[in-house]
Symmetry: C2
Subunit: 190 residues, 2 copies
DNA sequence: CTCATTTCTTAATCAAGATTAAGTTTTTTC
DNA sequence: GAAAAAACTTAATCTTGATTAAGAAATGAG
């Protein structure tokens, strides 16, 4: 069940069997059904979530009554609102399952204790956060340098398999335009 | 000279005097004049830069021949292209001083060695990268949820002192619109 | 102090993508 | 397997901010 997490971790650090046991003893596991939430806006986020299997999105509700997606997360990604988690203040985001998913999560209140026992986890998170930050900067670069259509075509060719997993209107939201506009682009046929 | 870095570090981790000495022995120091570059696109980024004092920007040249700013960095911030640094591939970005600045930098090729000697640095960078990532997500959220004018007004009230330090046209670029549009907003008077 | 460069402003025209409003297709649920 | 709900499409109109083109003001260098 937790195997994907250990496999993933081994790409970055090496833990002895005893250490892996400690890690697992600090984690919680949960199945979550499509459309259920891990976090709802207004609440304080109290865990970091690793997706063993599935797909989730993080979004906020706009003034116009629509939903704006800021992040997707699939197998082997962590998802949380670090702003809320870090400072323990109410989140403006919602985290919701797009597919039935299997989650491992690490609660804020025991994280420091775990990190003290397994300092290598500091390194692991340092590396994955570095990559997440780098990806986020690249995303900003794309947003400002490309048109909506270019962003769609780029996303399509970069993550062809991912397109199958999410509804078009969610992809439109993530890319920063309307479902109608996405439909228009697709209508152009090639 | 290096005092700002040690002061900053003490907010996150505690190093003994001997450890601080080790850290300093691994760092390089450099003065950089306004308009000089730390990184030029096409080159591989080989260090992470800490700004002891000053102001820099990271930008890319667009197809239209303009410059698109993706990040600013001032005193007590690290700046680098993590994509290029991590994977040692040519950068698409330029990092340039906006003011005469004092820089401490940590070279890629000795970073791992330093981290082995001072594992607490993994924690330090884990924390600041977590905040950088969180800030980046918030920025994406603002980009998609607010109009150009709203973004400008928000930035203005959030960083009133920073506005003094950069030319308006750079701020416009960072916020994702043209200098002409920024001028229009300001012209509205209040 | 003066010329050159950089930065900022104004205004007219234009375009990418939003909005609105149906209607259609696909998926879910009972 | 029928009805309801969710997802997608099309097209007309509208809006935000881009583009173009001056000119004005501020800053910097010698």
């Amino acid at each position: 069940m937790y195997t994907p997490l250990l496999t993933h971790l081994r790409n970055y650090i090496s833990l002895h069997e005893a250490e892996e046991k400690i890690l697992l003893s600090y984690l919680n596991f949960q199945s979550i059904k499509k459309k259920e939430h891990l976090l709802t806006e207004g609440n304080i986020c109290n865990a970091n979530h690793f997706i063993l299997k599935g797909c989730l999105r993080m979004y906020n509700n706009t003034d116009e009554g629509t939903e704006q997606i800021v992040q997707f997360a699939i197998d082997n990604w962590w998802i949380t609102d670090y702003n809320s988690l870090d400072l323990q203040k109410p989140s403006i985001f919602n985290i919701q399952a797009i597919e039935n998913s299997e989650i491992a999560f690490l609660k804020k209140d025991i994280q420091e204790e775990l990190f003290k026992k397994l300092p290598q986890l500091e390194r692991y998170f340092r590396i994955i956060l570095q990559r997440a930050f780098a990806a986020s900067i690249m995303r900003i670069q794309y947003i400002f340098n490309q048109s909506g259509e270019e962003r769609y075509r780029h996303f399509n060719s970069a993550f062809p398999d991912f397109i199958q997993r999410v509804p078009q209107y969610m992809l439109a939201s993530y890319l920063g335009f309307t479902p109608e506009f996405l439909s228009k682009i697709r209508g152009k046929k090639e």
